[in-house]
């Protein structure tokens, strides 16, 4: 990992007449961090000596020049004035430089703190991505490109989902024909296939990321079941919204719900067994040995089984959607998909409201 200090030229190497461009560039990036400048300056004494030395140097130069100009008075005034202006300009420049260095030092400290927090969070298994522009901070650490890719693609997926929902809503309100409706329904179904494909790739990159639903909003995560929504619960939510149904359809949907429930229960019990065997393999031997390499080896094998569970749960979700589209007419399917899409939109809106709610002052 690149340490933040390599990003910033040490103040000692920075001459008084540094390229203005570099200073301006850093000035731009530090403008937003004005509050950081309020921290204690970390400039050491050597730095201050350097400044006073350069001041003495310029005084020395001025001293020599003064001797030769003492004869003529008019040119002396002009020269004196210019020299005074130079001194003033140099002094101001040194003060600006000092302020800059202070800002740089406190930014560097803040960066180091952030880096440490990130490392801590990563070790705890949290994925810290999203808001941080890792390129900007120059992290070359253990970034999971599979997850970074997924997060980026997911952002696009949600955008496309929202526009598809809008299109579907307009289509249903405008009473378009079944043929055009089928195209919209197929598009949406393919779009769902896309998220399952993305999740499968992400699960290979980091199964815990998918298991914990890290890409989802808080309210969505509340309903999490093996890395996604629980299909039987969703069916219960959607059923009243797709009425009227024929008796055969209602029976089929009920049977689908029941089969879903049974499959979910089986998978949940399988997960419990996995937890139990994982706990057993970690605890194998005496828990006071201090060394645990063999336990880790078996434990890692167990963790890899998680990937197949996540994939199986997604397969269940995908199959449920496909079964619904087989049972329903195209118009019912369209209403069903619209309801499903809007349900998740509302969950996301809820998450947003929740995180922005006014809190009691501490």
């Amino acid at each position: 990992m690149n340490s933040p200090s390599t990003q910033f030229v040490s103040s000692r190497r920075m001459g008084v007449y540094d390229p203005i461009q570099q200073i301006n560039m850093w000035g731009e990036s530090l403008k937003s961090n004005v509050n950081l400048a309020a921290s204690i300056p970390l400039i050491d004494e050597a730095e201050i000596k350097f400044d006073s030395q350069s001041e003495d140097a310029s005084h020395g130069m001025l001293g020599t020049n003064n001797k030769y100009d003492q004869e003529a008075s008019k040119p002396i005034d002009k020269i004196q004035r210019r020299l005074a202006q130079n001194r003033e300009a140099a002094r101001k420049s040194r003060l600006r430089k000092k302020a800059y260095v202070q800002q740089l030092e406190s930014s560097r400290l803040k960066l180091m703190q952030l880096e440490q927090e990130l490392e801590r969070a990563r070790q705890q298994g949290m994925y810290v991505g999203g808001g941080l522009d890792t390129n900007h901070l120059g992290f070359a650490g253990p970034i999971n490109s599979g997850i970074t890719t997924f997060e980026m693609e997911y952002g696009h997926w949600v955008e496309k989902q929202n526009s598809q929902i809008l299109e579907l809503r307009n289509a249903l309100n405008s009473h378009i024909g079944d043929l055009e409706l089928r195209i919209l329904v197929d598009d949406m179904m393919n779009h769902y296939s896309e998220i399952f494909r993305m999740k499968s790739a992400a699960a290979k990159a980091d199964v815990f990321y998918v298991m914990s639903g890290m890409w989802k909003t808080t309210a969505e995560r509340f309903f999490l079941w093996i890395g996604g929504f629980r299909p039987s619960e969703l069916l219960k939510v959607l059923l009243p919204l797709i009425e009227p149904l024929t008796e055969q359809q209602r029976l089929d949907v009920c049977n689908l719900g029941q089969s879903c429930q049974q499959a979910e229960d089986a998978l949940s019990q399988g997960m419990e067994k996995l937890q139990q065997t994982l706990a057993d393999s970690i605890a194998a031997g005496q828990l006071m040995e201090g060394s645990y390499i063999p336990q880790m080896a078996t434990a890692i094998e167990k963790l890899e089984a998680l990937v197949s569970f996540v994939n199986q749960a997604d397969h269940l979700r995908k199959e449920t959607l496909q079964q619904m589209s087989r049972i329903l007419t195209i118009r019912q399917a369209a209403r069903c998909l619209l309801a499903l899409g809007e349900y998740f939109q509302r969950l996301r809106a809820l998450s947003s409201l929740w995180s922005n709610r006014p809190r009691e002052p501490a």
């Binding site: 049977n255 049974q262 499959a263 089986a266 399988g270 065997t277 197949s308």
Partner: protein, 102 residues
Amino acid sequence: MEKVTRLASERGVVIFTKSSCCLCYAVKILFQELGVNPTVHEIDKDTEGREMEKAIARLGCSAPIPVVYIGGKLVGSTNEVMSLHLSGSLIPLLKPYSATLS
């Protein structure tokens, strides 16, 4: 391979698993929930387990294990079982072998 087909035809519902596989356990639970008591063969505990594993892999199921046979016929792995169940086609297949379904 002969051992696999022989064992598969011995009982109505046969699952080939590995003792450490929790997904296999989930499939077994599903069958039990549907009123069927499947015959489970743990190929990692079998002396000819290696050959059986190779033979099963050649069957081309979505996953190497578990592998499910109903009435001596290959059904497939977890994906196939789940798809069948959601489409409502699993229970009819199990009816002859279940005390509670028939």
